[in-house]
């Protein structure tokens, strides 16, 4: 019922890999935002989110992702989301965010 964040920078491909495990809501969104901000400070590169174990996200978490994307776009970088669960896919569809992020697999 909490959120675990695992991130690593892939130097060769110049891409961030971040794995989310758990739930992103009003309680955990702050720590997610902090993690992203540190990543952007270090390397403003594409961010690949492995969402296989992301059980839940709501507008609080989507807002964090939109904020990060805004910063990435300044360098023409993007957010790529992998292995997304159907319920979260549905939320991206409804909000139109599936056309703003790159959603794969």
């Amino acid at each position: 019922m909490s959120l675990m964040i695992n991130k690593s920078y892939d130097e060769a491909n110049k891409v961030w890999n971040i794995k989310l495990d758990g739930e992103v809501d009003i309680y955990t969104a702050g720590s997610l935002k902090d993690a992203f901000m540190k990543m952007l400070e270090e390397n403003k590169e594409n961010i690949k989110i492995d969402a296989e174990k992301l059980d839940y996200i709501d507008s609080t978490g989507l807002g964090v992702l939109i904020g990060v994307l805004k910063k990435l776009r300044e360098e023409e970088k993007n957010i790529i989301i992998l292995n997304i669960k159907p319920s979260i896919k549905k939320l991206l569809n409804i909000t139109g965010l599936d056309k703003i992020f790159v959603v794969e697999g």
Binding site: G63, L69, S87
Partner: protein, 141 residues
Amino acid sequence: MNKKNKDLIKLSVPNKPEYVSVIRLTVTGIANRMGFDVEKIEDIKVAISEACTNAITHGICQEEENFYIDFSSDEEKLVISVYDNGKGCLSNNIKTPNLGELNEGGLGVFIIKSLMDDVEILPNNGKGTVIKMTKYVGDDM
């Protein structure tokens, strides 16, 4: 519908972010018992979280206060009402989010309206807001 078949669960919760996940667990149990399928349970979890997040962030003026959730169920539907005693400035004139602008906020009420079958936003007797949302067990909508 026979009134006798209506169950009412009432929950009063501190306006703190850490309790939204507790509310999700509670509603999962209720919806599961009612026979909602997995997809609809996920819809309900997101919608109630959005309403509670709003009650916590916009709805409450005092630092330490509780807000309230009613779950009213019968065989065909679950009606969830989230009450707060806050400033109550929420109206029905919520605009559809414009994603081109990449706004970080303003998605909550839009998501609630998309996921639930019926949504009403009402003043709570002049001292706050009620978000009342209905989901049908079957495909009534």
